[in-house]
């Protein structure tokens, strides 16, 4: 018929905005994975023995595993020996002390991404720990956070400077044996972010990390650990982009959150990795394990994600509701277009009494995109009066895309209350006609309808991020209409 096939054409043909490559000398380990590579990574990062031992244990276990095949994804076989597991910008060897010492090209890259690295921009209230490939190169606002007692640093630094905290918590939410990709990450992770909020502290600013995969053929395996002690609060923002590359790049991150009694962690992600070209060549394979542990009573963990990039997304930010009266939330917008595939959702594991969880998932498929929601709600025998509400909506643009929903519900306590609502809708030609008849362009009409569809999730994002997410969505669906 009329507009929609062209729309899809346009979506497919619109190019990736962040597809520039930064030309800097990098210190890259040759491709391949064996014990020697792991020892090399560990020694380059001057890690203590226990860390190396942990990596080696994980590697030994990983060799016994095979990749998961249950996801609704069509993945070409991955050659793990063809990937380089370590890449660091060379200038890091001397250790930059301030922004002036940082490779100007690197700063230029960040500027293109719109990261507020300059101090005056950071004054807006965002402290940034920028991860460029594998090494954290700049950290702002450390001092102010330090005064509040908050630790916000790269994982490598944390391992060196706060070994007891890291040793105590690392792997306590996502053990290395958890799954194939988490296990690989435990063996080869190169950097990431560590956040520690002491008892009773409300983190004075939004913490933010931008990840960016730059080096060709490098996997990025970052590791994030956030610990919120009793009665503390932190909001953490994570944004991701990657330059354009022909070959697929692997991204297998692990994020662990720990919330003690009355603590609250809000974790927001805007993911815009390179999705591959029109033929499905290239693009990021995003296999991420994210899990939060509501360890203490009345603790609360919220995941909010806006996923517009990656060739393949395999990601289930989850909550273990261990503490009584604890709350887990998952708000998600996932967009697939072109040949993108996403299999994403959450797990809410209710262990404690009066635990509550909310799941709001919005999947948008355009072009030949495939979008799958996969979620588990488990009410364990001692989860008295546990409650869950799940809402799962899919929006289709065009007639070659797909939306799939796989909700798993396990209830082992009769007092539990579980609700599941799901809808599937399509942007209809009648809707577009209606909007255009009122003077709106097709593009504005689609953007308005899509933003309306995602509103519940965007409302959960911190203000600046919500605006960014809306813009990103418009850019993603740009050319969706003539």
């Amino acid at each position: 018929m009329s507009v929609l096939p062209q729309d899809i054409e346009k979506i497919i043909n619109s190019s990736y905005e962040h597809g520039f490559v930064t030309d800097i000398d990098a210190d890259t380990v040759p491709a391949g994975l064996d014990e020697a590579v792991i020892r090399l990574i560990s020694s380059k990062k001057q890690e203590p023995q226990w860390m190396l031992d942990y990596r080696l244990k994980a590697f030994a276990h990983w060799q016994t595993l095979t990749g998961p095949v249950w996801a609704h994804l069509n993945i070409a076989p991955i050659d793990y020996q063809a990937i380089s597991y370590y890449s660091a910008p060379k200038s890091k060897a001397d250790g930059p002390k301030s922004l002036d010492e940082i490779d100007p090209q690197l700063l230029e890259t960040y500027k293109k991404l719109g990261i507020p690295l300059e101090e005056q921009k950071a004054l807006a209230g965002i402290a940034v720990d920028a991860v460029f490939d594998s090494v954290s190169v700049a950290t702002t606002f450390r001092t102010k956070l330090h005064e509040a007692g908050v630790i916000f640093c790269s994982m490598s630094e944390a391992i060196r400077e706060y070994p007891e905290l890291v040793q105590q918590h690392l792997g306590s939410v996502v053990p290395y044996k958890d799954n194939f990709f988490a296990c690989l990450n435990a063996a080869v992770f190169t950097d990431g972010t560590f956040v520690y909020i002491p008892e009773g502290v409300r983190c004075p600013m939004e913490l933010s990390t931008y990840f960016r995969i730059n080096e060709a053929k490098t996997g990025q395996f970052e590791r994030t650990l956030i610990v919120a002690e009793k009665g503390s609060y932190v909001s953490y923002l994570e944004g991701c982009t990657a330059p354009m590359r022909d070959e697929n790049q692997l991204h297998a991150a692990v994020v662990e959150l720990i919330a003690m009694e009355d603590a609250q962690i809000k974790y927001s992600t805007v993911q815009n990795w390179y999705p591959g070209d029109t033929h499905g060549r290239g693009g990021i394979y995003n296999f991420v394990t994210k899990r939060g542990d509501c360890r203490g009573d009345r603790s609360r963990i919220s995941w909010t994600q806006v996923e517009t990039g990656s060739a393949i997304t395999w990601k289930y930010p989850s909550c273990i509701l261990r503490g009584n009266d604890s709350t887990g939330e998952f708000y998600s917008v996932a967009v697939t277009r072109g040949k993108q595939q996403a299999d994403t959702g959450t797990k809410m594991i209710h262990l404690g009494r009066n635990t509550k969880s909310t799941i709001v998932s919005k999947g948008i498929s355009a072009g030949e995109g495939q979008n799958t929601y996969r979620g588990l709600v488990r009410m364990s025998p001692r989860a008295e009066n546990a409650r869950n509400h799940t809402q799962c909506d899919s929006l289709l643009i065009g007639d070659q895309c797909g939306a799939h929903t796989f909700p798993y519900i396990e209830v082992r306590n009769p007092s539990a209350d579980v609700e599941h609502e799901a809808t599937t809708s399509k942007i209809s030609e009648d809707q577009l006609f209606y909007c255009r008849q009122r003077g709106l362009s097709e593009e504005d009409a689609v953007s308005m309808i899509v933003n309306g569809f995602c509103k519940e999730v965007f409302n959960q994002l911190p203000m600046e991020f919500a605006v960014e997410a809306q813009k990103l969505l418009s850019v993603t669906l740009e050319g969706a209409v003539g």
């Binding site: 030609e429 209606y434 255009r436 008849q437 009122r438 003077g439 308005m448 309808i449 309306g452 569809f453």
Partner: protein, 250 residues
Amino acid sequence: MLQITDLHAAIDNKPILLGLNLTVNAGEVHAIMGPNASGKSTLSHVLAGKDGYEVTQGSIVYKGQNLLELPTEERARQGIFLAMQYPVELPGVNNMVFLRESLNAIRRARGESDIDAVAFLRLVKEKARLVHLDEKLLKRSVNTGFSGGEKKRNEILQMALLEPALAILDETDSGLDIDALRVVAEGVNALRSPQRAMIVVTHYQRLLDYIEPDYVHVLANGKIIRSGTKQLARELEEKGYGWITGGAAA
């Protein structure tokens, strides 16, 4: 303002309009009546530029330009407004936001600046009173969960807000009870002006008791087969369409 000459239009290769002629001047209200499947909605949709219709012959000149060359949104921006028979729902799209975006798109086309928030709020409330639309509906998603009457009133509200040069009301009376009909008609009458033309498409004469047309046209088998004054509508009501079409009454 509008000259339709020998208009032939088809949908899915099926000819619907077969040589329709109509001239509408500023300040006039024309009623188009006709039995089911006579092409009434096709005419409305072709004027508004809905996709899927193919004009195979004839011309439409609007304000001196070839209307058929303009995309839908451009026609809207130049003052053509269609009050739909079945207004669609836009879940999640706030009615106020929709109204403001729409008004601004049209203001920009007129070379005016965007309306400021306070002025817009005042304006929309004033217009909502005109059509007795509950203000609560302004805060809801566009048409979502609205009753039939509320949807139609929302259409007239948009018309009042956008101040079109040519308003087309496509079976606005369908699905309305007599009270709702009166409210909608009052709203429409308030918008009558020497600068504005209206085309009221309807199956029944009932609506014309409230909106008095200057001209009445009977559309059957894709052509206007009779034109007259409102007296024609009365006769139609009494005698049925079979009286003119010669065939079975619709």
